[in-house]
Amino acid sequence: MQNKSTLKRAAGGILGILCAAFCFTLWAQTTAELDIDRTASLSNRPFPIHIKGNLASEALKVLKFDLEVGGCDIVSEDAATYLVHASNSENITGRLTDQTGSVQYFNRSYKNGTVRAQAHALAGDILKVLTGLDSIFNCKIAYCVNTSTDKNEIYIADFDGFNAKQVTRDGSLIRGLTWGAQNRSLLYCSYMKNNPDIYYHDLAEGTRNVVANFTGLNTSPAVSPDGKKVAMILSKDGTPDVYVSNLDGSNLIRITHTAADEASPSWSPDGSKLCFSSRISGAARLYTVPATGGKMQRISTTGVGSATEPDWSPDGKWIAFTTTTRKSFQICVVPATGGMVEILAEGESPDWAPNSRTLVFSRKSGKKSTLVMLDVPTKKAKTIANVTGSASQPCWTR
């Protein structure tokens, strides 16, 4: 950001002076380069990148991991389209250039924070140039770690699983974990009172309030983009249906009225609609409904037999979901208006990062479940190896 504004100021002040031509050339080159790379949609090749310099091993590991999560291939200098020139003495300094070194995209040094945080920031700046998207490497994830088959606890960690902090110690079962507004709270379904009930957990205060504890099922909370409403699944009126209320459970409105079961509501980014799965046609399919109630509209998911756990991308364009066969779970993406499904990778419980490009999900192997990051355009997946134990229900801060 600082770099950009400096350039702008310089351009304004210097116009008409001897170096104007040079500046224009630099600007034109840079813009052309970026335009090519930002045409990314659902299918794209990774960015071939090479890291030069003397980064210490921890910083280098962080940088490599982040770049790979972001859709880069770390390659030899010859094969690279982009070069990272990074070094650290006390602080990390990094430059991004093209392969010849003649086009420099940025040159920055980082101060304060840990070495890991500085390396995350450098990786974020690199991906910002390559994709035009804001960094996700300063985000956190919340997730559950199993303590036995029917018990788990919530943790919050850096997106790569480091600096994990335990949030609950209930010795109970959590389902439907999600973040509240400004990432200051978590909402989830817990069985701690011997029934699946929905709680609002204020992270700073450590207090917990009931959102819904009706007879029957209370689960799958999802907070509206404005942070004021919560969509959820309740069975109090006979079958699992979608409801919306205020965060304290007041002003409860029933949204769906089916005899089939609904599950996993997710808000459209403008807050006007909810997407959820329903078995109204027999198989689980995706539907949307106005968030204030109204007609259910089917979202076609051409190419797969069932669709559950929808998650609407923050840019509104895509819906990630899980398709289930008798043998496995597959993470899929479909345009939010419906259409042809892209099957991405084995796993379940997908959650979009704020960049609408990266998904986190869980993948079972035997009885163990691991967390995986997926760069959707390149389909590159990275396991978050640093999370110990069997982890599930990952979700990004927003």
């Binding site: 029917d150 919050i156 992270l203 699992p240």
Partner: protein, 228 residues
Amino acid sequence: MKSITKLVLVLGLSLAVSLLTSCKNPKTPTSSIPKLDPKISQAGTTGPMTGSRNQGTGTGPSQGDRSGTFGGDNAFSQGLDQGVDGVDGVNFDETGIGQASRESFEGRPMDTEIFKANTIHFDFDSSAVRPSDKSNVAAVADYLKAHGDCYLLIDGHCDERGTEEYNQALGERRALSAREAVTKEGVQAGRIRTRSWGEAKPVAPGTDEASYAKNRRGEFILLLPKAE
């Protein structure tokens, strides 16, 4: 005015020089890393909870008795969804039987053994009570009819082949189907409460069809009268 022009010129020139030389002699701007850690406090198990917000929605059957059989067995059908259906308008208006207020169930001692032999099982991805389980349902209903001060809790369970939240809903549907079946045998719906565990409590640990079949079940738990 003149001095400002001068200043801009000097500033412009110095910036130009620094820009020109930046490749070889980087004057690097510095990014300060923001403190990332939010304060996280754990909630105690007895942490401040707002009082029960449970407003029961009244008992008594409402219209519609299809909840037991809706859903079918083909939710995971391998058949591809080739339809160019795009978006269909759907407006179903059917409900099952509303649940009674939770207070009437709280504080009752549980007997998890008495109906152990009456556990019912479900087909893959189905919430329909099997005809072969009719005798189990009747046995539970007969006991409740003979013991008017007792209530019933039905736990719904799934095998692990659905996603977690989907299975929570499916387990609930199974418990609700079982509840409806018991109701049809003459027990008041308001005496029966459902609870879904999804796939969290398998009785058979295997990953074969025989284990899955055992795990897809509905368990009946007797709720005894509250101790005085």
